[in-house]
Amino acid sequence: MRTDDRALSIQQQLRRSAAQRRRRRLVGHALVYALMIFLALLFMLPIFWMASTSLKAPREIFAWPPEWIPSSPQWGNYAEAFGKYPLARYMLNSAILVVANIVGGLVSVPIIAYGFARFEFPFKHVLFLLMLSTMMVPGHIKLIPMFWLYQKLGLIGTYWPLILPAYFGNPFFIFLMTQFIRTIPRELDDAARIDGAGSWGILFRIIIPLCRPALTVVVVFTFVWVWNDFLEPIIFLRDWDSYPISVGLAFFQGRYSVEWHLFMGATLVSILPILVIYFFAQRHLIGGLASIGIKG
């Protein structure tokens, strides 16, 4: 009887403390959620404000107090922005640059990484270190000599200066791909070799098909970088018609600085492709970044 009593009370105590813990965790979760939601709203405020402005009528944009959500959204603003600014043209230019750079990366990076990951040769380690150290070289140092060189070659004002480097392998991608190929079992290579495949056959039939995740990282990062690039296009390009969207946008500002409703619409449109690719390839973007972080 007594022991039963004691057992019961211990059980009760246990149950009570479990309930307490649960309650405490619930309160903790609620606090974390509240904080996260607050921070998320804060971080999204500039983007929200851009979207809100893009839907306002001209007389509303400088109104005070400001209208947070326009009462009658002016969807026509977007059509007007496309009509007034050569937005479509600039985005097409950016798309051309993106595709050309992606092709360059997909062609060059797997071959170079294959060399580093699968073959033994004198000075391999030194070359690899050299390749890694170029990741740290800030891009600005290239601008003057490359400008001089491209001018001699008559390439200023063309897309070549913005495309060519991709075909010689970006060190970040080479590093990533080399690490990735190293995780593919060599037995697969050996099996293919026995079946009569040469070194290049192994690369194209075995390695590259297995490198899909790493290749996706190349595609996604190239997309984001090239779409966002600003400094090199303003230096190497000449005509308004050939500008990518980043440069086009920056120069609209000087020309049409009062039409903020159209202007914010244009800015929003310019980041849409990036947002779309980000939502679809989030895992690869974050994974790619994370993998350099860990190994760095």
Binding site: W49, P65, Y167, G169, F230, I271, A290, G296
Partner: protein, 300 residues
């Protein structure tokens, strides 16, 4: 190299040849896009050169001018240093705090990760334009919100004292990028260490200081170097928003370089500036790397 080559079997030699062949695009690229520009910049920095006429050798004159009689060099150095000093520590600390939050195991965290990472993938130009509008002194959101609590907001980008902090705040908005890398580092810390510490009665703080932080130092180290290089290279914001103003408050080094090289076409002097920035960045990287032995903890 030759003796190593002779000692190889024919099969090994074939493999080595294939290896070199595979590397050849990179080697060509290395010469064109790295070796040549760095050497050429060094040579150009010792010349006076306006692109129209051929470079004229003037020895160290560019450097003498840079260090002794160039107020713009001093302004740009000051603005850049201030920006690095202001944004870098904040970004490192806030990035870590955000990562710790995002690492909590509660449902829905993926959604938050998506949200916080968005600013890090948008272009500098779009972000700059968005922030010009966001920080408008009269009708901008921030000053409107501040006015609700009775605070008169500053003129942000258009105020001598606030322009540089405004650019720093903008760069902190992109803290999600840093947080994602921290997050990967956090998730690499073995769970059994925390379990062991919990059994030993270590509280949350102790666990953070004794386990999380030491094991995260390699990530912190990496992040410090990346952010350092990035902060020195700040350019787009100055170009799009402030044009280096007001009164050179945001006249960042790379913007000065750009104006010298591609507006004034003082290519010789601009080369000296470029080389100086390279040396500063490399110097900082080496310094961080050399001191890292004292604070970076490697498991093996």
């Amino acid at each position: 190299m030759l003796s190593a080559w002779r000692q190889m079997t024919p099969q090994e030699r074939r493999g080595a040849k294939t290896g070199y062949l595979a590397l050849s695009p990179w080697m060509v690229g290395f010469v064109i896009f790295y070796a040549f520009p760095i050497l050429a910049t060094f040579y150009f920095s010792l010349t006076q050169w306006t692109l129209v006429d051929p470079p004229v050798w003037i020895g160290l004159d560019n450097y003498v001018r840079m260090f002794t009689r160039d107020p713009l060099f001093i302004s740009s150095l000051k603005a850049t240093t201030l920006f690095v000093a202001l944004s870098l520590p904040l970004k490192l600390v806030l990035g870590l705090m955000l990562a710790l939050l995002l690492n909590l195991k509660i449902p829905g965290m993926n959604l938050f990760r998506t949200v916080f990472f968005i600013p890090a993938v948008i272009s500098g130009v779009a972000v700059s334009l968005m922030w010009i509008w966001f920080l408008q002194p009269d009708t901008g959101v921030v000053n409107t919100l501040l006015s609700y609590i009775g605070v008169r907001g500053p003129y942000w980008f258009w105020d001598l004292n606030w322009a540089l902090p405004s650019v720093a705040i903008m760069s902190i908005w992109k803290v999600g990028g840093a947080a994602i890398i921290y997050l990967a580092g956090l998730q690499n810390i073995p769970a059994h260490l925390y379990e062991a510490a919990e059994i030993d009665g270590a509280g949350k703080w102790r666990r953070f200081w004794r386990i999380t932080l030491p094991l995260l130092t390699p990530t912190l180290f990496f992040q410090l170097i990346i952010e350092l290089i990035d902060a020195f290279k700040i350019f787009t914001e100055a170009f799009v928003i402030t044009k280096g103003g007001p009164l050179k408050a945001t006249y960042f080094f790379l913007y000065y370089f750009y104006e010298e090289a591609f507006r004034n076409f003082n290519m010789g002097y601009a080369s000296a500036l470029a080389l100086f920035l390279l040396v500063v960045i490399m110097g900082c990287t080496v310094f961080v790397y050399r001191t890292s032995g004292r604070w970076v903890f490697y498991e093996n």
